[in-house]
């Protein structure tokens, strides 16, 4: 199938040539998605009629808008007014939000064509998209493998060319890890850069919405549109939004890149290691300086995260009780029985595991030992980064220790699954911006991603460095649709 979505500008050219109302294009696009998605299953609940209806509204709204007609997939935990938004959970069955998330308002202001319903791990609990109530999404590079998670549907939809871009959410790597495994670009902004209003909460102190795209330039464009202070999110930061696209096409001579030894443990996948080493050489050739740094508390990040994230999640998920929205069990006679039956039947296994873990660590007698301790270790992890950024402008690491694993490979071993996010979690704990970009193919012809992290609100450094790398390489031109097998 023709690759019409390799970039926003290519798509716009294609759109221009069609000389037709956007409603007709939307029909063609949803038909195309339906064909590709038979294999990929990137969408959990796509409503083509709604997409066409939105395109009709765009047709009436004039021709201006940075993203006019550009199809953007939305992870199913971001509220779209009137659209089925379930977080891929049975407990939110039938939920149609009465309002739009702020990011949706911002995209619509630029006339993007919103395509809701991208699949995800249930409530974003997972690294493989396998905990979705709707079943797993398949990696476009090898449909026997996972696309990563939790924003696996968003990343797969972009990688398979179903849409030009997508929004995901990232709590411990949920944008960057699937981007890495699907061979696309995924950026988690600084905590507070993008409004979380209308993002169904998982762990409120870690969650951020961000773009998933085929290249760095599109990433910058979308980040520019969705960023900014929002009075509806008291944790969003009132700080002007730079023109991120102005950081493109910049020279990186003299840029100092820190390489932390803790992110290259002995057991690291050989294919990943060699791609990352190759990428470091590219940066050196471009005139960047590299320096060895140490982030000594890295090995505690996963432990710290699996106290804080489930604790916040158990509290955020208390609201799913069958009263206000979503699923209600029909079995119960009393109110308390209704709560329990609804939650038992509504939540999947991983959600229950995290609710139990979080409830335990917050419960009386354990709070200080677990939650408070984890928040102190979190401070130590942030301090490591603050110290490191005194001697470098950004930090380069692998995004994930491995390439995409097989569907079913890790579902029986939660701890092993949790360790998939070992390199991405620290940026969430410290609130830092971080991006994953493709850096070639590893073992089994599967994409490898490299991660760049910067100090808070230094997204510009990430875009500058990532774009310089992209211009010097061909990795972003890899397209799963041109792969013969799979």
């Amino acid at each position: 199938m023709e690759d019409i979505s390799s970039s926003i500008s290519d798509f716009k050219r294609w759109l221009e040539e069609r000389k037709e109302p956007l409603a007709d294009t939307a029909r063609a696009l949803t038909d195309r998605i339906a064909v590709i998605d038979k294999k990929i299953k990137a969408f959990a609940c796509l409503d083509s009629k709604n997409v066409i209806k939105r395109a009709q509204n765009l047709d009436k709204a004039g021709r201006r808008g940075l993203l006019r007609g550009v199809p953007i997939a939305i992870k199913n935990n971001i509220c779209i007014k009137g659209e089925l938004t379930t977080c891929a959970s049975h407990v939110l069955e039938g939920f149609r939000p009465p309002y739009n998330a702020t990011v949706i308002e911002k995209l619509e202001k630029e006339k993007a064509l919103i395509i809701g319903g991208a699949n995800m791990d249930e409530f974003a609990f997972g690294s493989s998209c396998e905990t979705s109530y709707y079943g797993p999404t398949h990696n476009p590079w090898d449909t026997g493998r996972i696309p990563g998670g939790s924003s696996g549907g968003s990343a797969a939809a972009v990688a398979a060319g179903e849409v030009v871009a997508a929004l995901g959410s990232d709590t411990g790597g949920s944008i960057r890890q699937p981007a890495s495994m699907c061979g696309v670009v995924g950026l988690k902004p600084t905590y507070g850069r993008v409004s979380r209003y209308g993002l169904i909460a998982f762990a409120s102190s870690l969650d951020q919405i961000g773009p998933i795209t085929r290249n760095v330039s599109d990433c910058a464009s979308i980040l520019e549109v969705i960023s900014g202070y929002d009075e509806k999110d008291s944790t969003s930061v009132n700080r002007s939004v730079p023109r991120y696209t102005e950081s493109l096409n910049k020279d990186i001579k003299g840029l100092t890149i820190g390489i932390p030894s803790e992110y290259f443990p002995p057991g690291i996948d050989a294919g990943v290691k060699s791609r990352i080493d190759g990428a470091i050489d590219v940066f050196k050739k471009l005139g960047a300086r590299t320096t060895r740094i140490s982030l000594p508390h890295t090995k505690y990040a996963v432990s710290c995260y699996y106290i804080i994230a489930p604790a916040e999640a158990s509290s955020n998920l208390a609201r799913y009780d069958g009263v206000h929205y979503g699923y209600r069990s029909g079995k119960a006679v009393s109110l308390i029985e209704m709560y329990i039956a609804t939650r038992n039947e509504g939540f999947g296994e991983e959600a229950k595991r995290r609710i139990l873990l979080g409830t335990y660590s917050l419960s009386s007698g354990y709070y200080e030992e677990y939650y408070l301790k984890a928040q102190k270790v979190r401070t130590k992890i942030s301090d490591d980064f603050r110290e490191a950024f005194k001697s470098c402008d950004c930090i380069l690491t692998p995004t994930s220790p491995t390439t995409a694993f097989k569907i079913g490979e890790r579902t029986d071993d939660p701890l092993k699954m949790y360790l998939s996010d070992i390199f991405t979690i620290p940026a969430n704990l410290a609130g830092l911006p971080a991006v994953s970009i493709p850096c070639g193919m590893g073992e089994n012809d599967l994409p490898v991603g490299l991660q760049l992290m910067a100090s808070p609100f230094n997204e510009e450094t990430l875009i500058k460095a990532a774009h310089a790398f992209e211009r010097a390489t061909d990795h972003h031109k890899m397209f799963s649709g041109q792969k013969k097998s799979g």
Partner: protein, 105 residues
């Protein structure tokens, strides 16, 4: 850490108790499975005890520059009742309907 002895004490009774706090009730086979998995996860997490956090303040917000956010308490247009109830599994006369709360005397 002074509570080091607690870390292995994940019993099925404890899982049952925590489930009750979280308004879940688990089948016997799930109790056994979750007990094993939670023990394994908590055993891993116990490594946090190695970190010397004497004198370290817990993170309350990742951006140290953030201050509490206040705004004027001005009345605004609320979500209309009809829309607020539009997702309710059961409703009656403009209210959410739930099973009977007060026991018969």
């Amino acid at each position: 850490m002074e509570h080091a002895d607690k870390k292995t004490a994940i019993t099925e009774d404890l899982v049952r108790y925590v489930a009750r706090l979280a308004r879940l009730s688990l089948k016997e086979e799930d109790l056994v499975k979750f007990r094993g998995q939670l023990s394994q996860i908590l055993e891993y997490i116990a490594q946090l005890g190695e970190v010397d956090t004497e004198g370290t303040l817990p993170t309350t917000h990742v951006l140290t520059s953030m201050k509490n956010v206040f705004r004027e308490d001005e009345p605004a247009e609320p979500l209309p009742t009809e829309e607020a109830l539009s997702n309710a599994p059961a409703r009656k006369d403009g209210f959410f309907k739930v099973p009977k709360i007060i026991e018969d005397a």
